[in-house]
Subunit: 254 residues, 2 copies
């Protein structure tokens, strides 16, 4: 049986162990413990977790404390809880991507997943923007993928994806699936947990415009995404140029 211990014995912080770092609630430690299992792959996407009671006795806390840890992970979309069935490790299926990461929606309100057509894929020395985005050392190499994404046969997005070559070894040989994040998970054990995007309006350059079948200078929405893995490290930079004649970026402020 695999070992999954908390920081200390029974009640680490209460029994003295958190003098400097301040107070660290038990359920946070339990949560960190669970995140570790997600990172190291002992809890893989799609799996059913043990029941709350089992987990509770395993880590030596009450069921309510386990519940609070699981609830937070579910709120972060890392787990999915279903009453009567169990708690599952979230998968990067199209539905989740569409819901969580794909904010470009057709103006008629229907959210669809675009298909993609790869233009080129190279392994090259990173440029400075890539190094900043991905926290790379000078001279580090990246795998660079360019593709066109279309909705209903109409080119909509010109996408440039940069990945650290050291992490995604061998990716440049082989096909590029439409759903990259699913590949990251299955082939490299890397879960994309969240991302931040910076949006600007830009005028398309000649070559960009040509790929999208519009005139040079056409305004486009530039989305500069940095995707973070479960452990918080930047693992993907994705620069998208989007036509917004018949689509828009949906942002909900709560």
């Amino acid at each position: 049986m695999t070992e999954h211990k908390l920081e200390n014995a029974a009640r680490p912080d209460v029994a003295g162990g958190a003098e400097i770092l301040g107070f660290r609630p038990l359920y946070r430690q339990v949560k960190a413990n669970f995140v570790r299992r997600l990172v190291d792959g002992s809890w893989a996407p799609g799996m059913v977790l043990p029941s709350e009671g089992q987990l509770a006795s395993e880590v030596g806390v009450s069921q309510g404390t386990v519940r609070k840890a699981l609830d937070e992970l579910a709120a972060e979309n890392l787990l999915v809880r279903r009453q009567g069935r169990g708690t599952f490790v979230a998968e990067h299926d199209e539905q989740r991507i569409l819901f969580q990461f794909f904010k470009l929606v057709s103006d008629d309100g229907v959210a669809r997943f675009p298909d993609s057509q790869v233009l080129d894929m190279v392994r090259a020395t990173s440029d400075s923007a890539e190094r900043t985005a991905l926290n790379l050392a000078a001279e580090a190499e990246v795998i660079r993928i360019r593709r066109i994404r279309s909705l209903g046969g109409k080119p909509l997005i010109l996408e440039t994806i940069s990945l650290p070559a050291l992490v995604f070894t061998g990716l440049e040989h082989g096909p590029v699936p439409n759903n990259l994040y699913s590949l990251f998970a299955t082939r490299y054990g890397i879960t994309i947990a969240n991302a931040c995007e910076r949006l600007k309006a830009v005028a398309l350059k000649a070559d960009e415009a040509e790929h999208l079948g519009v005139a040079t200078g056409t305004p486009a929405l530039e989305i500069d995404r940095i995707a973070l893995s479960l452990d918080g490290s930047a693992v993907e930079r994705r620069l998208s140029l989007c036509l917004t004649e018949e689509a828009h970026y949906q942002s909900d402020l709560r």
Copy 2:
């Protein structure tokens, strides 16, 4: 003393009252009760709420149930909880607006609140876009405000705000503060709870460009915001044209 009752007596749903609508947890009813107090103004922005224990005995449930309702409201930014001090009704101060509603950030990463200069303010018949956004009847009137928002003296945003004239009576006479949402709350008792934004890239028209001091055709980020009040009704439409040479729209995907 004001009356603040739950739907039924002690345990409405458990004691039979939720046959058709399905199950409605007690803490949701408590939450709805609390939202009502926020809407009708008996809990006004800035106020301290009674303690959890007091609320619990008032509505006749356990402290844990009240806690769960309060926690959800805090998660929705309607309340602010501070350990050792109490639970407060959220205010629309600059900090909150900056954090919750203002997503345009200078590229250097410093988030600042822009000043604004009103171009004009009229009361007029709504156009069709405004009627759709605000759910207005044909011929309904709106108050329309146009203003320039600047950061460090540099024009950044051309903003057109449309408000239902029937709701914001008399607003067109009188000064327009920089922080409109605070005015909505204090003068009209309307709390902006959340908003949704649709973003596009557009080319500036001649008059728009002139106001912003750039060339006609310059690409701009168009933000079409619909702001909803606590009760879920659309109370503001705000169309912003933003220059994104030195700023960007920050969107975090979790």
